[in-house]
Every structure is written in C-alpha cells, then in structure tokens.
C-alpha cells in the first residue's frame, strides 16, 4: 500500500527474485519489472504532503534526530488500541520502510509508534543516506492560501495564512473572516499566474 503512495500511484509488485540463472549465468526464468497505475497522481500527492506534515510538525517530529528537514521525509506513526502494536511507515526520495513492533501473541507491548517504531526507522534510514523526497506537483493540484482557524480562503491580511495543496476546484470557496473579497481575488490571480509561469519555465 505504502509503495503505491510513495511511487505517486504506480503499484509495482515487490520482487525478491529478479532472475533464476544456470551456474554460468544463462537466464532460465525472469521476473520482469511491472508497473500498474493504480491511482492518479493528485490524491497521492495530497496524501504524501500530509505525511510530510506529520514529520515536519506532527507526531513524527522526533525524526529530526536522525534525518534533516531537507530530506522532506513523508511518514505516519501508528499506535494500535491498548498500545498493542507500534508502527512507523515512511519514505524518502529513494527508500520506503515500515517498522512494526509488538508481541507475537497480540498482548499489549505498551509502546507508541513515535516512541518505539520511529527510532528504529530513523536509525535504519539515516544509515542509508537517503535522497530527499522531491515530489513533482501534478497538473490537477493547485495551492491555495488558507486561514487555519476557520479553514477558509485567506489573503495577505490573515496573520497565520498557510499555502495548502488542493485537488483543483476542491478548495473552500468561502472567504475567511480575516480576508477581504479583493484580497482573495488577488490571491487567486497570483496563484494562476504562478502556475502559468511554472508551466512555461519549468516546475
């Protein structure tokens, strides 16, 4: 599942064996690389940026002890009911890893994802010198300035405004209390101009 997300929607069945050969290297059987576009890139981009938020400012912040912010890791902590299991799933530009910690008889391990699984993941990944995660922004995504307290469209007048990605056309239409009609319209035009420039001169 995470492999499909990490690859932007392209499911690639894992292969432990690529080829079976004779002792002098003649191939007897090959297992070819196969890809299937299971999802369009837009929802994968949104999930991935949300997962990057988890690492940047959410439950996986302690990952900074192992990997720098420039790595832009996407991650997800997990702690099951009654703290039975501790999970961490995350990916960088070139590696995906999932860590599970728990007992094999399903009793509570009394560990959290961030507390127990994340450090294992962090140490393992840091040793691999990962490439930063640099997602190409799909065509169907637009960035919109949002006021976090109301969840509505913001403009420069809103003090804590955040730029967030949305599937085109799905951003809230309503204006936040802190914004003005003119301000929101200006933001809209600025965003359109930015997308146009990006398309013309490179992403």
């Amino acid at each position: 599942m995470y492999q499909t997300i990490a690859s932007g929607g392209f499911r690639t069945p894992l292969r432990a064996i690529r080829e079976v050969t004779t002792q002098d290297g003649r191939p007897l059987r090959r297992y070819a690389l196969a890809v299937e576009q299971a999802f369009p890139p837009e929802p994968m981009y949104l999930i991935t940026t949300a997962m990057q938020g988890v690492v940047r400012e959410g439950t996986a912040q302690s990952l900074k002890n192992w990997l720098p912010p420039e790595a832009a890791v996407a991650g997800k902590t997990g702690t099951t009911t009654e703290q039975r299991d501790a999970w961490f799933a995350g990916f960088t530009g070139d590696h995906l890893g999932i860590v599970w910690i728990g007992y094999d008889d399903n009793r509570a391990a009394r560990l959290s994802g961030a507390g127990a699984a994340l450090p294992v993941w962090g140490e393992m990944m840091a040793a691999l010198a990962p490439e930063p995660l640099a997602l190409p922004k799909p065509d169907g995504i637009e960035n919109v300035l949002i006021d976090p307290s109301s969840g509505l469209r913001a403009d420069f007048a809103c003090s804590d405004a955040l730029e967030l990605p949305f599937a085109q056309g799905s951003a809230p239409a309503e204006r936040a209390p802190c914004a003005s009609a003119l301000g929101v319209a200006v933001e809209g035009v600025k965003q359109q101009a930015k997308s146009w420039m990006q398309r013309l001169f490179g992403r």
Binding site: G8, G9, F10, R18, E19, P27, R30, A32, L33, A34, V35, E36, Q37, P41, D94, P136, R199, F201, G202, R203
Partner: protein, 139 residues
C-alpha cells in the same frame, strides 16, 4: 497511420502499426547521465533490434536501478513492452515515464503516442484517439 480499428473485434488483437523509432539520445547537459546508463541503453537498443527482447528488458531494468527517475529509461522500457506485445505494461510504463517528464513536452508527447499504440493494439480505438489528442496538446 493509425489503422481503422474494427469496433466489433473483441477477440482479435490487431497488431499495431510500425513502432515509433527511439529518439536519438539527447545532449548530456539535458539530464544527469553517466557512462553506465549510456552503456546499458546502447546494449538494450542493440538487443531489441536483434530480437533479444528479454535481454534488452534486463538491461533497462538495471539502468532504472541506477536512475529510477529517468523518464527516458522508462520510455525505452515502454517501447520494449510494446515490442514484447505486453500492451497493458506498455501503457503503464509510458504513464510512469510521464510522471517524471516534468516540462519535457516532446517526451510527454512521445509517451502519449506509445499509449495510443498500446490502446489500439488492445482494440481500444477511442482510447487511442484520446491518447493521440493528448500527444497533440503537449506543445
């Protein structure tokens, strides 16, 4: 060049028209290229031309392990899947190439043409037309 696809032919896979020839390798400045990739790509093209399709695929897969985000390698693999008659894989692999293509409109257009071939080969004439339209739009 697209042969008219018979709408009712659900059981016969129509062989596609002449395969698009691989584009000449672009200038090295256009991408991070290294000698290993160039060697593998040359080997793959030679194998493909000689009909050793599985060998060619193995070389391309090795090249992809070195540069997994190289859209030209993915496109080369898509072209090979067409030759191998694996049309579903040809389409997915060309789509994968597009996901890394960025603003390389010529490369995107070529991918859409490969997708059109693959769809036509599976009897999807409408899908093939849509893919050719998408190729035209990449300008």
């Amino acid at each position: 060049m697209l042969a008219a696809a018979a709408a009712g032919c659900a059981t016969v896979v129509r062989p596609p028209g002449p395969f698009p020839e691989p584009a000449p390798l672009p200038e090295p400045a256009a991408r991070t290229e290294n000698l290993a990739i160039a060697g593998l790509l040359d080997g793959a093209r030679a194998d493909a031309a000689a009909g050793r399709l599985a060998n060619a695929a193995a070389s391309l897969e090795r090249a992809l392990r070195i540069e997994p985000r190289n859209p030209r390698l993915w496109q080369e693999l898509a072209r090979l899947r067409l030759k191998q008659g694996d049309y579903a894989q040809a389409e997915s692999t060309a789509a994968r190439s597009n996901s890394w293509a960025g603003t390389d409109n010529a490369l995107r257009a070529e991918n859409w043409r490969l997708i059109a071939h693959a769809r036509e080969a599976r009897g999807d004439a409408e899908g093939a037309r849509a893919a050719l339209d998408a190729a035209e739009r990449q300008r």
